[in-house]
């Protein structure tokens, strides 16, 4: 009985995680501008990854594998937000303007994407 419950819980976690990762990836493609894409990238890294990892932990039960899964989770917990922060900071410092800047920019040109920041 308990095994069935744990099995079902891990499936839900896995499916939820997979769904979130898909949503994040879709958001990454569909979002209009760099700064808005930071959000979906964050979804996949944080929530999506955690759900999938917890799903796997439930599958693995109490063993060395769970320790490794926990280590991966902790590692991702530290590195994903940091790298997303670093990318956003680098973009801002390099002068990449958000598309709809608060300050009224020169007449917003036709729907050209944010200028090439090379």
């Amino acid at each position: 009985m308990i095994a069935l419950l744990v099995e079902a819980a891990s499936w839900t976690f896995l499916l939820l995680g997979a769904f979130l990762v898909l949503v994040g990836a879709l958001g990454l493609v569909r979002m209009p501008d760099f700064y808005t894409r930071l959000h979906p990238a964050g979804i996949t890294d944080s929530l999506g990854a955690d759900f999938i990892l917890t799903g796997l932990v439930l599958q693995a039960g109490f063993s060395l594998v769970t320790v490794k899964l926990f280590l991966i989770g902790a590692f991702l917990f530290f590195t994903s937000p940091t790298s997303t922060h670093a990318i956003a900071n680098a973009a801002l410092v390099a002068g990449l303007k958000p598309r709809h800047a608060v300050v009224p920019p020169r007449p917003p040109e036709k729907a050209t994407q944010d200028e090439e920041a090379r």
Binding site: W11, L14, L15, G17, A18, F19, V21, L22, G24, A25, L26, L28, V29, F34, R37, L38, A41, T44, D45, G48, A49, I52, L53, G55, L56, Q59, A60, L64, V65, K68, L69, L71, I72, F75, L76, T79, S80, T82, S83, T84, A86, I87, A90, A91, V93, A94, G95, L96, Q113, D114, E115, E116, A117, R118
Partner: protein
Amino acid sequence: MFAATAIALLVAMVLALVRLYAGPSLYDRVLAANSFGTKTVLLIAVMGFLTGRPDFLDIALLYALLNFIGTIAVLKFFRYRSLGDAVEEKAASRNKEASQ
């Protein structure tokens, strides 16, 4: 069930590659590469369970570590144009040039 997650991850990786290819600005590409890396970590973990040999997770952990280092190296590469000690004024002039 693992297969479904694996396929979802594969699709997500393709989408990340689309952004990597299309991404107008460089930072979109770096963001796409970073999320592509994270998804691969998850794919390797799930594939470990799919084939019933879960002790492959070392590779996933290694890849999470390297993905972080790769992203930091790329950012430093563009910000200071050298992975060693860059002189501050050189970096300042680059921002002016990068943002025109």
